[in-house]
Symmetry: C2
Subunit: 157 residues, 2 copies
DNA sequence: TATTGTTATACTCTATAACTATA
DNA sequence: TATAGTTATAGAGTATAACAATA
């Protein structure tokens, strides 16, 4: 039988002066999400001149370092679902940053390659990404940054 | 003048055997996002019995440790926009986990409190969250986990 | 005049089912 | 029969503008 929705400690209708987040701050997920959000926010700002969102950057970077990569391989590597990648690649193709070429051995698949324009853009964009790392290293100290990345990899692999 | 969308290195239409993600793995944002995703995925599974999504958990946990907290304070602490919090709190109120009470000093504001049912649920849910931490400590070693959380806090604060 | 809570609404992101062409 | 790419579409998450009540 449903009980009435009455506060557990109903007597003092107190006000909260400063919010206590100490319990949440003990949780790895909470801290990882907030850190990811902080970094990605800066990333978005720095990539705006290139008109690249984080996903676009990841896609183009993988294409750059894996010329001929297929959509399926991109989806697996980045955790994107195939239907959601189609529109991204179409947009990047319309901007003449990537080009689709027939796969040498599999007639169903399509290999993705950077165009000269895409190569030029990504050379600058990856340089910008590397500079962002350097800036966070200032917040952290180079060895702490290396340590952090090592630990993060242990978490997700 | 627009150049034709021709691959930069067009000669060998090569296939990619194994995807090289080494550049992305040097980036803090990429690693932080993947780690957050990994932890949150497990979190979602473990919280399913309580029918709590990560946001619901965060909201209820802050209400638990800050009885009388206002919507505005929740939004600021969790980075949620006010219009998007309304529906969550309504749903939690309908489940009789939280109750709204008039704010003692500000007639515009509403203080949020856990009901007895909400208190009981969150006692178990926070215990489950703490166990999840312990499981990840197994992946990492307790001192590495503490170190990781410390470094993550440095990143976002 | 500014702020809290709210509604309405739009835009993005993510997820599922189903089709086609090749294997 | 299974897989790569695609389409259509639905749902969740996130964003802005505007309003009523109160400060």
């Amino acid at each position: 039988m449903p009980r009435p929705a009455v506060p557990a400690r109903s007597n003092p209708p107190a006000a909260v002066e400063e919010v206590d987040t100490s319990f949440l701050e003990t949780l790895l997920g909470y801290n990882a999400r907030r850190a990811a959000l902080a970094v990605i926010t800066v990333f978005v700002e720095r990539m705006a001149p290139f008109q690249l969102k984080p996903v676009d950057f990841s896609v183009l970077s993988l294409v750059r370092h894996n010329p001929g990569i297929t959509s399926r391989q991109l989806c697996t590597a980045l955790g994107i679902l195939p239907p959601n990648l189609v529109g991204m690649v179409n947009a990047l193709e319309k901007r003449e940053l990537v080009a689709r070429q027939p796969h040498p051995r599999d007639g169903r698949a399509v290999g993705l390659h950077l165009t000269a324009r895409g190569e030029k853009l990504m050379r600058d964009a990856e340089k910008t990404a590397a500079e962002l790392e350097a800036d966070f290293a200032a917040r952290l100290s180079p060895s702490e940054l290396r340590n952090l990345i090592t630990l993060l990899k242990k978490v997700y692999s």
